[in-house]
Amino acid sequence: MKTFITLFTAAATLSVASAQTLSIKGSDTLGAKLVPQLAEGFKAAGNKGVKFEIAAEGSTTAFPALANGTAQIGMSSRKVKDDERTFCKTKGVFIKEHGICYDMLTVIVNKNSPLAKLSKAEVAKIFTGQIKDWSEIGGAPGKISVYTRNTSSGTYKDWQKLAMGGRDYPSSSLKMAGNEQIAQEVAKNKNGIGYVGLAYSKTTGTKTLVIDGVEPIAANAKKYTYARLCYLYAPDKPSAEADAFMKYVESSAGQDIVRKVGFIPVADL
């Protein structure tokens, strides 16, 4: 009996030790598709013992989670803000930034829309509410429904900066939780327009628009106007699992997954 208890305890200890959990929190853009697939690739590359907890509720959630130790890696589609970084420091967490891929924010409309292209100026006017009806830019009459991300999203802020000259969204804009919701709503609404990451631009019922003559495809990333760098953040002294995962993400195998999911590897630009 004594031997059994000893063996049982040892086995239990080993099984706990072999199932390390890696908690990753933050951006929906990265966390909905890309990071889960990177996690799969990481496990397939011989790290079977690592369990992943991935919570993708917006870039804003990444930094409190890193500060409080509830995440070992933070995902963000924007750069960390000074106050977020400072708060981490006061909690003894000194985060390091890893630019892991570029994302192209594509403008999508309903597949039945006659529109095929817009200028950057027209995009700014639509998303700031200056243009309210499709007839103002040569479309069929109909009130434009603007779909945006919610305020905890890094993409929400990035789009303001990239496409709206830093101005605010109109109060009539419809704030959605993620890329997929925006795509789904635009697919259902013939007057809808929204922005999604390149990885979400093929949603059935939608189509992407050419902006200033540039088609939003990976090959055009250098000249496309709405491209941005996306990041993972980890403490300067990460856990062994977090360190190994970060190295995998930045390896050629990880960057191949980045490309397959629809993002652009850092080295490609």
Binding site: G31, P36, A44, I54, A55, A56, G165, K175
Partner: protein, 441 residues
Amino acid sequence: MHPMKSIKHIIVATSLLGSIPVHAGTETTPYIDESSALSTNATGLLLGKFPGETAWDRAWSGFTLYKNDDNQVLQEFSLQGRLQVQSIFGDDGDTFNTSDYKAAGNDETVWGDDIESRRARFGFKSKWFQTWKLEGQIDVDVDAHDSSGDFSPYKDIYNLYLTYAPVDTFNLSVGKTKVKFSREQEISSKEILTIERSLISNTLFPGELTGAWVSGKGIQEYWLYELGIYGGDRVREFSSFNEGLVILGKIGYDYSSQVGLDTAVASLHYMHNSDPGYVKLKDADFTPGTSPSFTDSIALTNDITSGRFGLTTELLYGFGFDGTAEQSGIQKNISQSDVIALSVIPSYYIANGLQLVGRLQLANSDAGNGITVPSRYERLSKLPSGANNDEKGNTYASAYMGLNYYIYGHKLKLMNGIEYSHMGGGDYDGYTAMTGLRFSF
């Protein structure tokens, strides 16, 4: 988000071959309301919704009364304030402490004999119609009584201003505000790393003034600026605009991405003061501040942080003033020579939540008696005997060493520091030890 919902959404991947389930707040469900794809995230004390990861986060979120980016009229209304208490002991051959500070006419701000209420402010901040912000704070009279003995927690308006902020690159504000000349003054007392700011930064500081200013950041990605014009009188409420002008201009450059640091900003500040040395008449409940005795001031600043390390460097120059100034209704002669000062503030996190801070100050004036020892505590050294101390000199050097312990970031922290100061051409040569607790929301 409801905690149970959050837990429900976090799905753990368990299989190598299986897909990695994720709570994206997105893949199948919206962020808050599963019955709709629309994301609504109204929070605040008035709604009984306190967002945050920890009990500390949720407790502080209670100061936000209402926050809802989807509301077309009001997006946020929050309370803001701070309470900073501290105690000191100094020795320059003659010892002095907080009770001496109390005895020097500050009995209203010292609790007992040893605890000074350094700053007590209370107010609000709000965001309206997406692009308008209104915020203000009063200095709280911790004695809670006015000169006639009636109950009154109001001391003065610290700030109250309206901002139109259509874009990051252009914000326009009008009202009363702290005029932030020099890097140390730009950093709120909630977040400064030393218990008191450096001598020359305080000497050149024009106070809380009424005016209009424009500011912006991210111009061509890296540049920032500020330009403001203010009435020169430091008064209880708002300027009468009859007592001169203070003009402040700044230009800065954020070079953090070029050098790979967490933050790195260099900036140049210029301030013009048309009525140096002016002081308005004192009334029973308020003692107005003195306008700096300098016509023009320049600050060249550099502020960097990287990991555990931080360094703020500042070179200040004040152009002195010789002439007369109205002080409390009387014309007085002022003779202030030019001063130049260097301030270097390194910092380093030595353990979780524990930060070591240093500061070196060197200052020189063109003529004798161009520099006065810090007015708050060091001048107490001549009390109570009032002996033979000469508080003015022409060179000043000080070295500060402090230890800050962050309980909840900058919102609740303990600060401790000791500073040795020497006034060349004067008599002061001693140290001041300080300890304090700072709470803000």
